[in-house]
């Protein structure tokens, strides 16, 4: 039966994360952005709330949350800081998420408790310099030698690249099978031949670490093969279906944060003898942002609900992410416009929100990739 109301526990979770974000994150967000520092000291505090092991089961030290819970957490974090939202999303959804999805009992026992409690940070490596939207082009190669895999290649745009402890790396094991010849492996920080390359300087999400990774004859024991051989792509698609819900939630949170800032500013800022919020031109911008973000919220809820039901949600995740990313960007852009010159300065948080939000139109599949997924659903594989 149709019901749009969050459960009591979801409401409590939202309030808890909102209070936490206001107290522990908001006061530092500008500084972290300007200094491009990864807020390592925040991780234990996030872990205390269970936010570093959201979907991990309790027996592995996790919080046993639903996808709907995760969406709420990411949205609330992003309302004050896109970087922290991204860090938490990537750690939970990609790194830890892949081990939870495809890992065997031994792998889960070995890695998840420390990941879920924030002692270790998780990262995930799919993208390569010449293989972005097209995973079939992955050149990082894993070759079996005795009871070991030897990895060679490089990855780029890796969230938590230089601060991670545990890495899930996708490599080609059967190049002739293209994307259906990919396999996932678990690597650990400091392994011989595994080095962090360039730190990538980004437009936004400055407090989230993004780096290149290089693999030169890295020896990976065969027990660190994650999931079945040549099954990495199929698992990856599932990870992305859920990951897209997180990135959509991040865009929603950034948009809502910007909308709230704009609304407050419009009520206080006086020009021509009255609050600028009294002008219809301002009111209509606020109304459009609010409407578009409500639509995003409902698309996200439906995708997350389907995920929690164990149902297929590829189409719904892509529509949610495509819409939320665009709606978030427009809300941030309008917020800057409503703030006028002040909105263009770092004194106000809206320019940072826009810079952070742009990631959501690109990461975990660009808007264009989402449209490919949606169109395929509508008219079949053309």
């Amino acid at each position: 039966m149709i019901d749009f109301e969050d459960s009591e526990s979801e409401k409590i979770l939202r309030q808890t994360v909102r209070d936490f974000a206001k107290k522990e994150i908001a006061p530092h967000a500008r500084k972290w952005d300007e200094e491009e520092t990864f807020p390592a000291a925040l991780i234990p505090k996030l872990a205390e709330l269970g936010l570093m092991g959201m979907k991990a089961p309790e027996e592995l030290g996790g919080a046993g949350m639903s996808t709907q819970d995760v969406a709420i957490v990411i949205e609330e974090l992003a309302r004050v800081d896109g970087s922290v939202a991204l860090t938490v999303a990537a750690h939970n959804g990609l790194g830890t998420g892949h081990i939870l999805l495809a890992g065997n009992d031994a792998q889960k026992k070995k890695y998840v408790p420390n990941l879920a409690t924030g002692k270790w940070l998780g990262a995930w490596g799919l993208t390569e310099p010449s293989s972005g939207s097209d995973a079939a082009g992955a050149k990082t190669r894993a070759v079996k030698q005795g009871d070991k895999w030897i990895l060679n290649g490089s990855k780029t745009f890796i969230t938590q690249g230089s601060v991670g402890d545990v890495y899930v790396i996708i490599a080609s094991t059967s190049p002739e099978k293209k994307q259906h010849g990919l396999t996932a492996f678990i690597l650990e920080k400091g392994q011989k031949g595994f080095t962090v390359g360039k730190h990538i300087e980004k437009m936004g999400c400055h407090a989230s670490d993004t780096s290149e990774l290089n693999f030169a004859d890295v020896e990976v024991p065969e027990e660190n093969q994650l999931g079945e051989l040549d099954h990495g792509f199929i698992d990856t698609l599932q990870i992305l279906d859920r990951g897209r819900i997180s990135i959509a939630s991040m865009a929603l949170g950034l948009g809502l944060g910007a909308l709230e800032a704009a609304r407050n500013y419009a009520r206080e800022r006086k020009q021509f003898g009255r609050a600028i919020a009294d002008n219809q031109a301002i009111q209509f911008m606020l109304a459009d942002s609010a409407t578009e973000l409500e639509a995003a919220k409902l698309l996200i809820k439906r995708a997350a609900w389907l995920s929690d039901q164990g149902r297929r949600h590829t189409y719904e995740s892509s529509t949610a992410k495509l819409w939320a990313a665009q709606a978030g960007m427009r809300a941030c852009d309008r917020a800057i416009q409503i703030h006028g010159g002040y909105g263009y300065t770092r004194e106000f948080p809206v320019e940072r929100a826009l810079r952070d939000c742009k990631l959501c139109e690109i990461g975990e599949g660009t808007n264009e990739v989402q449209r490919m997924v949606i169109a395929r659903h509508l008219i079949g594989r053309a």
């Binding site: 039966m1 149709i2 019901d3 749009f4 109301e5 969050d6 459960s7 979801e10 709907q68 709230e260 609304r263 407050n264 419009a266 009520r267 919020a277 219809q280 009111q283 209509f284 606020l286 109304a287 459009d288 609010a290 409407t291 578009e292 409500e294 639509a295 995003a296 409902l298 698309l299 809820k301 439906r302 609900w305 389907l306 719904e316 529509t319 495509l322 819409w323 264009e368 989402q370 449209r371 490919m372 949606i374 169109a375 395929r376 509508l378 008219i379 079949g380 053309a382």
Partner: protein, 385 residues
């Protein structure tokens, strides 16, 4: 707890409406658009299926299936023929407004006429030549007589105004009191002094009748007053809030029809040696149309769900109506574009969809009025939300 699953009853109403619309409405929709014929038989058939009183209690002849079911049924009917859906929408809302504000006697006398189709359809008389978005500016008056009230004035844009058996008409009982001086009246079709003017020659919804009403010494009894003296504005706002869910549902149905037509066309139309659906520019346009209509569907469902729960839903209804009507318009325009020159001809239905759809951004409150409602709600919220 979040749930997106329909109940069996809601599914049944939706499937009944879809089945009827596909079988009985779709085949003649284009012909009605050309001839402007009013869908008398079709409306009677809708009444038999319970679709003229979807959210009206059973003792009054309604289906008592709720607001969500109403929204789903509207979408299905609009998908086949938007002209039929607008008469259906107004009839449902006239019934709902009388159920909510009417006395027992008014309900028993009038609502069964609407649900059974005996009144054929219902109509609202709110807008006037000089009072559109601003009902406070209306000049129609209701003056006391020995036995009741006498209505005088002009109404404009009255859907089914020449066909309806039951009207709700707004007039000023205290012209000095602004919006607080407006009262609502129920008036039977054929009452002396109530007449319809010339049909508006509209861009779309050509199978729906839109006329001005002339109230010239139209005498009604004491029992015609709907709600309180001076309470007309709240009757109007209730009708509009509920009506907006209906129009959002209607827009969604038209947009959905446009998307489906486009999807079918791009799979069969071959250019440069392949179906145009293989071109990304075409795929992406479809993807955007589908995404926006999904969002429109959820906003509409949410507003309907809130109304069904009996909580305030004004802002949500405005968001649904604003978004769905704008998204549906983009979908119709996109569908024409994807059909190329053929889309511009009457050999394909998409130009009709666009013409029918255009008014959803205007009536039941323009998009601009919806933004006023939404902004007012946002700016009234506490700042620490």
């Amino acid at each position: 707890m979040i749930d997106f699953e329909l109940t069996d009853e809601q599914r049944l109403v939706r499937d009944t409406a879809r089945d009827f619309a596909t079988r009985e409405l779709l085949p003649k929709a284009a012909a009605r658009d050309r001839s402007g014929a009013f869908p008398v038989e079709e409306l009677r058939a809708l009444a038999k299926l319970g679709l003229l009183g979807v959210n009206i209690p059973e003792p009054l002849g309604g289906a008592a299936a709720g607001v969500i079911a109403y929204s789903l049924a509207m979408t299905e009917v609009a998908r086949a023929d938007a002209s039929v859906s607008v008469a259906m929408a107004v009839t449902n809302m006239v019934g709902e407004v009388i159920v909510r504000f009417g006395t027992e006697a008014q309900k028993e006398a009038l609502v069964p006429l609407l649900t059974s189709g005996d009144a054929l359809v219902g109509a609202f008389g709110l807008s006037e030549p000089q009072a559109g978005s601003d009902p406070g500016a209306m000049s129609t008056t209701a003056k006391r007589t020995a036995n009741g009230w006498r209505l005088d004035g002009n109404k404009q844009w009255i859907t089914s105004g020449d066909r309806a058996g039951v009207f709700v008409i707004w007039a000023k009982t205290d012209p000095a009191a602004g919006t607080k001086g407006i009262s609502a009246f129920v008036v039977r079709g054929g009452t002396p002094g109530l007449s319809a003017g010339k049909h508006e020659d509209k861009m779309g919804l050509r199978g729906s009748s839109t006329v001005p009403l002339l109230l010239d010494g139209c005498e009604v009894g004491e029992d015609a007053l709907l709600g309180k003296v001076g309470g007309g504005l709240s009757v109007a706002l209730a009708a509009l809030d509920g009506g907006r869910i209906g129009i959002a549902s209607q827009a969604l149905g038209i947009g959905q029809a446009a998307l489906e037509a486009a999807r079918t066309y791009v799979k069969t139309r071959v250019q440069f040696g392949r179906p145009i659906g293989e071109f990304q520019a075409v795929q992406f346009r479809l993807a955007d149309m589908a995404t926006e209509l999904e969002a429109a569907r959820l906003l509409t469902l949410r507003a309907a769900w809130m109304k069904e729960r009996g909580v305030a839903f004004s802002k949500e209804a405005s968001m649904a109506k604003l978004y769905a009507s704008e998204a549906a318009w983009r979908a119709c325009d996109g569908a024409i574009q994807l059909h190329g020159g053929y889309g511009y001809t009457r050999d394909f239905p998409v130009e009709r969809y666009a013409r029918d759809c255009r008014v959803t951004r205007i009536y039941e409150g323009t998009s601009e009025v919806q933004r006023i409602v939404i902004a007012r709600s946002l700016l009234q919220q506490a700042s620490n939300a």
